[in-house]
Symmetry: C2
């Protein structure tokens, strides 16, 4: 009889813990790759207060919207945006397939590494590179190209897969936010169809929670009678700078309560988030780690952080010092 | 002692049922407002096969995307799209506030019920009505107007709140799909900022799962230093016809496995959905119920169903006959 009672009690405890009793879990550090310090403390305090039921700062789960920039915030962006490296690789692959392209623009300039030529006349050459590699195919064919590139290519100096150039502390933060009822979104200047290929596996962020820049897409029925979406060589939306709050409104329809960026292109997203009522958290990754990652800010042509750094400091946003705040930068290589 | 055991047992049972034990629930009809028939059977069979783990047609939860048109599919659309009735009411309210507007267009034509005048010259007057009532304010101010209108106005013939002009069988279907791991989206020609105001409460669909037509929105800092999004009098995206699969790709990034529409404006969404690989379900509401709702199809100026009806019949899509298939149309009045 006592064994029966003991088993029942034990069973109830197991059931209770399956039901989400988290007394034991709460003791472990949800952000082990973050060093103890002001940034980590600010995150823990913010999540604590917005999830405390009955508390003055409580936010119901459906309003716990968190938006993250991608390049330089969730994954690295040096020596150049990875999407641009993808485009250059695709140009080279195209010339290998059709050697007659090698003397035509923008193929010639890419092969000659003529970045000055490509960026002349308001990035005319770069736009041609993007058009040549990001259009003239279905959305599904484009996704297959990106998937293939991710599988075959490696970062030029770190020698990792590009989808392993992600930041371990941010992966922990994304998981921690979701475990606390947040819905996590990417809001990036990068191409939405490019990011969606890896965002789910790399970050646990499904395609419908990725907001990004996009080109025009047209619906059509192909010669086999199959309905398809075709990518056209025309920009439709630039999700950068003031475009970020616009993209947030268009795709999400609520003002975030947490936003995380790393450059001046994130300034308006951070302003829009911090400008909402009640508790809000705005955070910036400051790239200060020349040894483990890269160190750059005000004078960088990629991920320039100047105005947003000043405004963030003035307004008490959380400036994450990569060198000091992050115990680990990249995940263990797989 | 026995009372103690009894309480423990009872406690375990309560815990088990809280944990989602659904043996009892599985026996009850998830679609009680649907009459037994081919449409209901097709839905139950489809959901059964795509959720059967290990089955040939199994679809993992993250790919269980279901898209629903709104006007005429989730709520009624007669005698005119409710968003247009909202716009007309706002025009009248504006004239009540500023009587000097009454001789200016489009105010004069709305007051005179001059629909012919409003629709002349490619709907020029109607576009002015939309511009006058849907722009020149922040996104938050617009949402407040819609909320206020929903609270104060009633449908002209059914005398219900507009957000009670929703279809009970569809509310059950949305719930049933979500209970089976589907993510439910609205994909509508209606304005996204209009629908988001009531979609969460009326349908259980959060703002970030509403895809619709939209106007240009600009980011700015107002005179009090508050970051705001301002609605401009310019159309940006029409989420109708071939725009629907484009909108699905832009906002969701996956081809749905189930789509539900009611008019030719849904044809391309249905084609795109049905054209995917493996199990897909395309459904059409056919308005056949002049008594409880309205009866209209090929010759209607609102919700015209002609080409999609032919193609749906030819391709074996599920044509829901409102009069025969729906036991109840509207929910009990609250």
């Amino acid at each position: 009889m006592f064994a029966f009672i003991r088993n029942l009690v034990r069973g109830s405890i197991v059931l209770l813990s399956l039901c989400g009793g988290s007394a034991a879990i709460a003791q472990t550090d949800p952000l082990p790759s973050w060093n103890e310090g002001r940034a980590k403390q600010a995150i823990l305090e913010f999540v604590g207060k917005v999830t405390r039921e009955g508390g003055a700062e409580f936010v119901p789960p459906e309003r716990r919207i968190a938006t993250f920039d991608n390049d330089g915030t969730l994954w690295a962006e040096q020596p150049a945006y990875f999407q641009l490296l993808f485009a250059f690789d695709e140009i080279k692959r195209a010339v290998a397939d059709k050697p007659e392209l090698k003397d035509k623009e923008p193929y010639r300039s890419v092969l000659a590494r003529d970045l000055k030529g490509l960026t002349a006349d308001r990035n005319k050459g770069l736009m041609q590179v993007v058009a040549a590699t990001h259009s003239g195919m279905t959305t599904e064919a484009f996704a297959a190209l990106v998937r293939n590139w991710l599988d075959l290519s490696r970062h030029p100096t770190k020698q990792r897969r590009y989808d392993q150039m992600v930041y371990q502390p941010q992966l922990e933060l994304l998981r921690y936010l979701r475990a606390n009822g947040f819905k996590t979104f990417i809001v990036s200047g990068g191409g939405v169809e490019f990011m969606r290929v890896f965002a789910e596996k790399a970050y646990g962020i499904p395609p419908e929670q990725v907001v990004g820049s996009s080109g025009v897409v047209k619906f059509g029925i192909d010669k086999n009678g199959k309905p398809q979406l075709n990518k056209e060589p025309k920009i439709e939306f630039i999700d950068d700078g003031p475009g970020k709050p616009v993209g947030i409104n268009r795709f999400i329809g609520r003002r975030p309560i947490l936003a995380f960026g790393n450059s001046d292109g994130d300034l308006q997203m951070l302003q829009y988030t911090a400008g909402g009522e009640r508790a809000r958290l705005a955070l910036i990754v400051h790239h200060t780690d020349a040894e483990r990652e890269w160190a750059y800010d005000r004078k960088s042509s990629i991920g320039k952080l100047d105005k947003a750094l000043d405004e963030g400091k003035a307004k008490g946003w959380v400036i994450v010092d990569m060198r000091a705040d992050w115990k680990t930068v990249f995940p263990e290589a797989r």
